[in-house]
Symmetry: C2
Subunit: 420 residues, 2 copies
């Protein structure tokens, strides 16, 4: 039996989510006896709900191959959460209706925890509605907050970006510290978990090396202790590099920089931890301070992607198709660390029910006792994830990224579907 497949990207982008797409599409193309066409949702799951799909069979093999080195989401993503079956029954039913109309028997959903939950629910309801669809989740998140898998594809590259940037900027600040900036602050992503901030620690080897202070969402921000540490660093090393996670909270549990707006998932939209910290260091210690906010640059920086991360992103995409063809359902490929030195990994799998709505925090043993750095165990965990460079091809000084044709799939259903 041969059926079509549907692939969608979800949530925030990473430098390597398209490498997973590449893994899915290249592997599916090798099994044309089982998988007909792969349709991609334009703007993620919204493309399925509104029957707005793109026919990936119209893209050349070269274009599909180029996805491996292209950041962003090639088909568009969405922050659009399908909640419980009862609350969102109409939407789940619509999905199945569209899948049925286009003979879609496979659903590959590339996203984070919320998306794994959706994939799980689609698997359940499709059976109830007598149109069983094989649903496979493909892990993706820069936040590295999915459980079970050793790492989430996307994290290794943002980790590398942050570590490399910290090492570089520290050389700049150190050389100017005598007469200019003494305190430099880099704000990185990380709403609830400090994984990205922790990765900056790889930039240095000794206490004298930057980053001198890391502020984690897991450690309540204590102004007095922080200022004392900055002062001490400037005294000892002439300068101080601070890496702050956007989700750092004060001792009352409030984000130190909440802007007050919320996204479709109900998450607070953050930004502004660095200026807050900068003002503090400037006003209270009188130092010249500079800060950078990496924001989306960190998660789209394909030019400095981790080779290990690219390979893992591709591997989970490939494995997703293989699992589907084995008849596995409601599962997600995982990265399994087989050995630390030398670093060896393989792809495993886990039931989506074990992933959905669980957030992996940094282990307590990964943050140093003083709360301003990481432990040796954390370093051991992080080190292999940023290994290797995987440069995109360049033309005239700029990376040459995939440009897709985006040929739409002709709709088969008459009625429009209105999104909530």
């Amino acid at each position: 039996m041969k059926q079509n497949a549907f692939y969608a990207q979800s949530g925030g982008m990473t430098a390597v989510i398209n490498a997973s797409a590449c893994g899915v599409l290249e592997t599916a193309r090798k099994h044309k006896n089982r998988i007909g066409k792969v349709f991609a949702g334009r703007n993620g799951i919204i493309g399925a709900l509104t029957e707005d799909m793109l026919d990936t069979s119209k893209e050349s093999a070269a274009t599909i191959a180029a996805l491996r080195h292209t950041p962003g989401g090639a088909f568009g993503s969405a922050r659009y959460k399908l909640k419980g079956l009862d609350e969102n029954r109409a939407e789940y039913e619509r999905l199945i209706e569209v899948f049925k109309a286009h003979d879609i028997g496979f659903f590959f959903y590339n996203g984070g925890g919320d998306s794994m939950d959706t994939a799980h629910k689609v698997s359940q309801i499709s059976r109830k509605l007598k149109f069983p669809v094989i649903c496979i989740g493909i892990p993706k998140t820069v936040d590295n907050d999915l459980p079970v898998t050793d790492v989430c594809p996307g994290f290794g590259s943002v980790a590398k970006y942050v570590a490399v940037s910290t090492r570089e900027v520290a050389l700049d600040v150190a050389s100017m510290a005598k007469t200019s900036t003494k305190v430099f602050i880099l704000e990185v992503m990380g709403r609830h978990a400090g994984w990205i901030a922790a990765a900056s620690a790889l930039a240095g080897q000794t206490a004298a090396d930057a980053p001198h202070i890391i502020l984690f969402p897991e450690v309540p921000f204590d102004e007095t202790r922080f200022l004392a540490r900055v002062k001490e660093c400037v005294r000892r090393y002439d300068y101080c590099v601070v890496v702050v996670a956007e989700g750092t909270r004060d001792t009352d549990g409030r984000f130190i920089a909440e802007t007050g707006t919320r996204d479709a998932f109900g998450h607070a939209q953050l930004g502004g931890a660095a200026p807050m910290i900068a003002k503090l260091a400037k006003d209270r210690l009188g130092h010249k301070v500079h800060y950078a906010i990496a924001d989306y640059l960190q998660r789209s920086a394909r030019h400095i992607a981790s080779k290990v991360d690219v390979e893992q992103a591709y591997a989970v995409g490939k494995k997703a198709v293989e699992l589907a063809l084995q008849g596995q359902n409601a599962v997600m490929p995982t990265i399994v660390r087989k050995s630390q030195r030398p670093y060896r990994w393989t792809v495993g799998q886990v039931m989506l029910s074990r992933i959905a709505n669980r957030e992996k925090m940094m282990p307590k043993g990964f943050i140093s006792r003083d709360g301003f750095g990481v432990t040796a165990a954390c370093r051991r965990y992080l080190e292999p994830l940023i290994r290797g460079e995987d440069y995109p091809p360049y033309h005239n000084g700029l990376p040459r990224y995939a440009k897709l044709r985006h040929v739409p799939v002709a709709p088969k259903l008459r009625k429009d579907f209105v999104l909530k």
Copy 2:
């Protein structure tokens, strides 16, 4: 006759100022019959004034070679301006005193416009004080604001960083625009001249490509016209990427984001143009907005340096020594564009008197009529400057940058010198 040389770095760092240092030191080592040792100022010119110099002859050839791919300032830099001969006579005299004590007959000063002025004055006063020192300026500035030279080493690499980052982040934003961020703002350096902001234009080829709007210091910021353009971009392309120079001013000539602090040169310390623009787009148009502030990351990003820029930075360092050995004095090597297609360049020279205290602005013909973009002439100028990649060596996923021994030169003068 054989004399020692003094090399100092000045002002803000670039990704390639150490490539110029490499050019100076490697070339000087080839002429040991004429140049004894090269001493480097610890923290730039301050190292000469306080007789705190580093003996570069103690660094291995491998370390010197590694400077070519190491960002920041290997010997430390300073924002410390020597003004007129009358105002700062004691300091000029002290410099000559130190040079005399260490038999320094060559002064290589690697910096921007202020530094060229200092080098010029040192050349004049050294003759008056009967200890003539050959003074050669070596151009360096990410701002690209030195006259005569076709480009300033340092600019090509920040230009490449900004163009690459803009291209990458645009893919991210485009893929999320349906349900998330519609307006993205990248703040880049550029206090008075919009060269760096202009370079972001290389990221796109058509009007639909990012950046959709560039805000230059040269073009007064008009809120109404800006908002209308953002609205139009979102309507047409679903999203809008804005690149804003930190030095953008309003129609009254005020920086849109002045923090109020000033550095040693009396320049205002900027930062915060992006949040100001972001708030405007959010409050007035109701879009979800994100912003990044590249700050020092852009000028230290050696990992994505322009190969042309690295080669030019090395070449002006090399040429500086060659000019000195030819007995030229009070000159600066320049980059001369010999042909556009194919791009060919050579190293020329100019008297320091023609450089000092003159700032090169963007030509009027480089900014598009609407003030939000660049012209074809500007693109032709910028394109070759970001060409080629020149990756540093990596070890365990991180760039391996030069670590210097920093062996101090034994002081010969008794009295301390107190800096103003």
